[in-house]
């Protein structure tokens, strides 16, 4: 049986009384030891120098009404018992110095006496487990009650101990998870587990998140949902700011992220706050973070660690407190290995890493996502949309077959559903429409595979960031230019071949120069082409 130990302030208002008539009043500290259903084995009573007499009188009275109770007086002098900082510090020190032994003693912190500030401090210290106990609040006798004992209630701040509260938390967690999934009843167990973890982390942690996964897996969507969940739970008040790092280049990258001051460089006609400052108090989602240049990486690292950074052209640092969610479809540890990504930044981002699987590895989730897309279409278009039975079976069979690549994942599925719905004006998707759509998807994925071939050639010369800034139109052209250059023995020969028609009409026929300029537009030159 554990010893019951109560800790509390002597009440310099409520516990007072010198005359015999003090017994006619409710004195919380005395009443604490008179509860018929609570035996206090030890009372640690805190008082200051002014209340020595009162403390000894109260402890004498307690011994009389409750011989089982041993009263231990603790002297604690506060300059101002209403000064939060002072009281908290004093009680924190008291708790630190107190040798708690929760295995053999059960602690109750009496919050009935002492200032409201003391009450708040006790609450905070107990909630933070600096005081490993529960709170006790005494209540005076009710009107019509005889006696001065009153009653007490014990408050355990460990919320998991309360069934009704715990079930609310469970429900809230389920709602949160469902919210993160946009209400889609996903069936993939691994995905659902991941969402449950994200729900837990999202509402508890302000540390950066890293979402990895292939393009179209829903990183951006999930980042926004995480933000909205945090906002609904009042974890953030600021905005959601989203940026694709692949679109940031050169000086503009620094300025876009960290802002600049007026006159920082030519064209900087006004101050610009930058995305980090815009995200203050909110969430900054940096997609494709692997595309960030080395200078930006260094600044971002400092911005995460110290919440401070230097805007372009400024001589004073600016601050912003935001939660970072980073997205990437690259293997950042490989980038670290190649020296393209800072190891310390990755270490910072890597605390909470969640890998979003592609749609193909979540076959069982295709159907609920189809229903979700149909419903979304119905809501925006105001028209009910559904498959007929055969059409649905046909589409699902294809969607879940190995042939369906879903290379852009949910983006593909969403686009496909939009097409199906748009092409079914009577609100019913039939087999014929589905067959046509399947053909369209096949062509799409084949084309994308060809496009991937184009990109494979270009990747020999350009990094992902540079590549993502070039239109497909130019990429296709560039691949052919490179092919010709590789086959030619000199720059001039390649130029002659590439400009064989237009050179006939021109006065100056400097094809080599024209080609050189073209290549330079993409950061390439003849020598590099020849070297590869």
């Amino acid at each position: 049986m554990k010893k019951r130990v109560a800790i509390g302030f002597l009440g310099t208002t409520l516990d007072i009384g010198k005359q015999e008539n003090r017994w006619e009043r409710w004195r919380p500290t005395v009443a604490l030891c008179m509860q018929p259903d609570l035996q206090v084995d030890r009372l640690d009573l805190i008082h200051d120098n002014h209340a020595i007499d009162l403390a000894s009188r109260v402890s004498g009275d307690i011994v009389q009404v409750s011989p089982e109770t041993r009263v231990v007086l603790h002297r604690l002098n506060l300059k101002d018992a209403w000064d939060f900082q002072e009281v908290y510090a004093a009680l924190y020190d008291f708790a630190k110095a107190y040798s708690f032994d929760p295995d053999s003693e059960d602690y109750l912190v009496n919050i009935t006496t002492g200032t409201h500030v003391a009450q708040i401090c006790w609450f905070l210290l107990t909630e933070a487990r600096y005081v490993p106990g529960r709170l006790i609040q005494l209540a005076p006798p009710r009107r019509g009650d005889t006696g001065v004992t009153g009653s007490h209630s014990i408050v355990d701040l460990d919320l998991s101990r309360y069934d009704r509260i715990a079930s609310r938390f469970r429900k809230e967690a389920e709602e949160g998870a469902s919210y993160l999934k946009s209400g889609i009843v996903t069936r993939n167990a691994a995905f659902n587990r991941m969402i449950d973890s994200i729900e837990k982390v999202a509402i508890r942690s302000k540390a950066p998140f890293l979402l990895t996964g292939p393009t179209g897996a829903g990183k951006s969507q999930l980042a926004r949902r995480i933000y909205e969940l945090k906002k609904a739970r009042r974890q953030v008040a600021g905005p959601f700011v989203e940026v694709n790092c692949a679109t940031l280049r050169g000086d503009q990258a620094m300025s876009a992220l960290f802002g600049h001051i007026k006159g920082a460089f030519t064209g900087a006609q006004t101050d610009r706050p930058g995305l980090l400052r815009s995200a203050h108090g909110g969430v900054l989602f940096m997609d494709e973070i692997g595309e960030l240049g080395p200078d930006e990486q260094a600044m971002i690292l400092r911005a995460i660690e110290d919440k401070r950074f230097l805007p372009v052209g400024a001589d004073k640092e600016a601050g912003s407190d935001f939660q970072l969610i980073a997205g990437t479809n690259r293997d950042l540890s490989e980038d670290v290995h190649k020296g393209k990504f800072r190891e310390d930044l990755l270490a910072r981002l890597n605390l909470w890493t969640f890998e979003l699987p592609g749609l193909k590895s979540r076959g069982e989730d295709i159907e609920p996502n189809i229903d979700f897309e149909l419903q979304r279409f119905s809501e925006t278009e105001g028209e009910a949309m559904s498959f007929n039975k055969e059409a649905r079976a046909l589409y699902l069979a294809f969607a879940m077959s190995p042939e369906a690549l879903w290379s852009a994942n949910f983006r593909d599925l969403s686009a496909s559903m939009t097409r199906l719905a748009t092409l079914s004006p009577n609100g019913r998707i039939n087999e014929e429409t589905v067959r046509e759509e399947i053909e369209r998807l096949r062509r799409l994925w084949k084309g994308r595979a060809d496009e991937d071939g184009v990109d494979a050639t270009l990747r020999e010369y350009l990094d992902g960031m540079a590549l993502s800034r070039i239109d497909l139109f130019d990429r296709i052209q560039l691949v052919e230019v490179i092919r010709v250059c590789r086959a030619a023995s000199s720059l001039s020969e390649a130029g002659r071949k590439l400009f064989s028609v237009s050179r006939l009409e021109k006065s100056s026929q400097n094809d080599a120069d024209r080609l050189k300029k073209y290549l330079a537009r993409f950061g390439m030159d003849w020598r590099r082409l020849r070297e590869n």
């Binding site: 017994w23 006619e24 005395v30 008179m34 259903d37 035996q39 009404v65």
Partner: protein, 341 residues
């Protein structure tokens, strides 16, 4: 093992105390379950634990479940031991209830004992010392018990701090109790006592009570008790008859006038007198145990309370002594204990 259902009937505390006494005297262990199960605060309270601990101290008992809020208690008595005992019970307990639990057990021994109990002696939730000393003990002394008690200092709720000293000698030959009538009225009177409160309160109460009862002012006295710890006020009346003395008590309460207190007590006495039964409710409850433990007997009381019936049930789980309750008329019952009753 005797199993007692602590949720049955009235007075969970009384069930426990009766069982403790019987267990110690008979040597039979018992388990009490569902202790005070239907109360708003179920299970054992501090005042019950005080009785369990005192009983364990005099009988060398082992027990399980003697913690606050416990719904189940197992009590295995060892050998009773006469001696000098002291129990400090705060004001959450009651000195008279502890004495009531242990005195009959120590009285069963061949050697004398002394018990000193400190705490509350005058507490609304328990019989006050005057009942014990002036009503109950004189009757059981007639039955052969040698128990004397003295209130060395009154202890009013909430301060407590009173002290009672009880001496228990080996009993003489037991005699069965016969209490068919109260007999001739030998005396009557009342005492209004204040402690650390204005004397005037006691004076008014005494006067109002004399008035309400139509008793002479000389029989109703006021008294200020300076020795008692803490403030308190009690109005006690006694009806001393040939065969029984009954004690009636009311406590002064904040916000209730002395007149009201006097009226309450007067009503209680008039009700008792009009029933025409010599033994009141509370005394009836208390007499059962000394009777079943000795030669039995009979008494006439008003309609037995639920308390009394529950008490009889507990006694039956320990002893085979027949206990009969016979209705005599509208307001009087005869309780007889033992074969000869």
């Amino acid at each position: 093992m005797i199993i007692i259902d602590g949720s049955e009937g009235e007075g969970g505390g009384q069930v426990l105390r009766t069982a403790l006494t019987l267990s110690m005297v008979t040597g039979k262990p018992f388990t009490i379950e569902n202790i005070r199960a239907r109360r708003s605060k179920p299970g054992l309270m501090r005042q019950h634990l005080a009785c369990v601990k005192a009983a364990a101290a005099i009988s060398g008992a082992s027990h399980e479940g003697a913690v606050i809020g416990s719904g189940k208690l197992i009590f295995r008595p060892g050998a009773l031991k006469a001696g000098n005992y002291r129990f400090d019970i705060g004001s959450a307990g009651s000195t008279t209830l502890v004495l009531q639990t242990i005195m009959l057990a120590l009285a069963a021994l061949d050697a004398p004992s002394t018990i000193v109990v400190t705490g509350g002696t005058h507490n609304m939730a328990a019989p006050c010392f005057d009942f014990l000393g002036e009503s109950f003990l004189p009757i059981i002394r007639r039955m052969g018990f040698r128990i004397e008690a003295e209130c060395l200092r009154r202890g009013f709720y909430p301060a407590g701090g009173g002290e009672i000293r009880m001496t228990i000698g080996p009993s003489e030959a037991h005699v069965s109790l016969v209490l068919d009538t109260a007999g001739r009225r030998l005396g009557q009177g009342a005492k209004a006592i204040v402690s650390h409160l204005p004397y005037d309160i006691a004076r008014r109460e005494a006067a109002a009570f004399a008035d309400a009862m139509g008793w002479t002012a000389e029989t109703c006295v006021a008294h200020s008790d300076a020795a008692a710890i803490g403030p308190g006020n009690v109005l006690t009346a006694h009806l001393e008859c040939e065969h029984v003395t009954e004690i009636f008590t009311t406590f002064g309460r904040q916000g209730v006038s002395g007149d009201r207190i006097a009226q309450e007590l007067a009503k209680e006495i008039k009700d008792h007198l009009s029933a025409g039964a010599p033994v009141g409710h509370y005394l009836a409850d208390q007499l059962l145990l000394p009777m079943v433990l000795t030669k039995g007997g009979r008494f006439v009381t008003s309609r037995p309370s639920a308390h009394c019936s529950t008490n009889i049930e507990v006694i039956r789980s320990f002893l085979n002594t027949p206990i009969a309750s016979t209705r005599l008329d509208d307001r009087r019952w005869m309780i007889s204990v033992g074969e000869q009753g």
